[in-house]
Amino acid sequence: MKEIGEYFKDKLEGLESQPADLLWDKVRKDPAMRRFNRIQRFKRWSLYVGVPAVVVLVTAITWYYRSSDPVDQIPVTEKQETHQVLISEPLNSDLTESVVPISSAISQSQEQPAVQKTEPQISSQTVKTPHNQEVVYSEVDKKRGEITNEKSDILPLPHNYKSQKEKREKQQNIEPQKEIAQPQSTLVTHPTSDPEVTFVEDATSLAHTDPEVEDELKIFIPRGFTPNYDGENDFFRVYSEQEIPHFELYIYDRSGSLIYSSKEWSEGWDGTCQGREMPMGVYVYYLKYNTLQGDPKVKKGTFNLIR
């Protein structure tokens, strides 16, 4: 004999019964089921679609910010300014030619006649009176009528990278500045600094001969440097007689990656990035600073790393 509850439990606890086939369809088509499946399907697809979408978006944003690096955003007007920096060294044979950018080589050949016409007079004036800027400017003013107004996009010619000794030898033989002065530029040899360094003022600012022009910062950006630890040109830096206010220097490689930045005007780049020596080649600098009047100024250009 058995308690009736247990009897039924033993017999019926595992009871199975085959449901009618049509029940699956009823379950499947139940509105709550359909809603649930729709939501889950949406979630699944939004995962499949959302993740790649986010990846694409992030890539796009990264690309956008990379392409809008300051180097590429310099207004055209600033580019046209002829803030050329000239080196009082003659062009050098094969080495220099090898690093002249193609564009500058072409434009140089086109504008060469104008340079030769006007240049010698200017240079002779400036060289003779290195300390008297007033004289220089007035001379320029007079010449201004003769000088063609064409703006020069010529990139400054590259630095002479030969050793100091070689440079001196050449200086004895060849007239400086002859081959490289630009139509609208005036040369002002710096009285105290190394003879090979010359500061060049913008033609536009010189034309005014205002007293305030004298307040203009004279900065020199070399066209190249040789980080070989020989104590000479081992750093790429901006040279100036005095402190450069609000100085910001950025250096990019040719692919556009920022490899160096500094806000200390007297510091320079030693040719390494994260401990690695960067390869020889052309690099881009982007320089921001304030003039002595407090106006923000931007300069950009290229320079060569020579090893």
């Binding site: 308690e3 509850g5 017999k11 019926l12 019964s17």
Partner: protein, 179 residues
């Protein structure tokens, strides 16, 4: 596919996995539904409700304990809600506080599962619910009272009456079998 993979597929709303899960548990759920329903039609209503509940709330299943136990629980809950919704008959019973006397049957009786299922389905709905929940599912009277919305005493007395009724029917049937 393992049960866990199927459950995860169902959680993601994949119909292929839902069909697999259905095929695996439909007989069990139908068996439970049949015990709680008066007839097959009602059982199908419960059955359908069970599966919809299983699929919709499967995302809450955290793989703690057996999945079959979880399905059983949902089936019982469905049956209870079906009872509370569909069966309006209010049984007025004298509360039974004392222990319920045992009702004994001969376990060698030649009844099939189908026979016993038929006996249960013939019970009044209130008796059937309490009997199923207490005797087969193993709930306590306190739990049953809460589930069905009645007093504990009512649950006890209905269970006792269910047992007596079943015993009576078994004896009747047995006699028929004997003859």
């Amino acid at each position: 596919m393992t049960e866990e993979e199927i459950v995860k597929g169902c959680q993601a709303g994949k119909e292929r996995c839902q069909k697999m899960l259905y095929d695996r548990f439909s007989s069990l759920v139908m068996g439970i539904s049949m015990r709680y329903a008066k007839n097959r039609d009602d059982a199908q209503d419960i059955f359908q409700d069970v599966f919809v509940r299983v699929f919709v709330s499967i995302k809450h299943f955290k793989f703690l304990g057996s999945f079959e136990g979880w399905v059983r629980k949902i089936a019982v809950n469905s049956a209870v809600s079906w009872y509370r919704q569909e069966v309006k008959e209010k049984t007025v019973d004298i509360d039974m506080e004392a222990d319920i006397p045992d009702v004994m049957v001969d376990e060698e009786l030649p009844f099939t599962e189908g026979d016993l299922l038929g006996l249960i389905q013939e019970l009044p709905s209130g008796y059937r619910m309490v009997f199923n929940l207490f005797a087969i599912e193993g709930y306590k009277h306190e739990e049953i009272a809460e589930m069905l919305g009645c007093s504990v005493g009512t649950s006890r007395s209905q269970y006792f009456k269910a047992k007596k009724s079943l015993k009576k029917r078994i004896v009747e049937k047995y006699k028929q079998v004997e003859i």
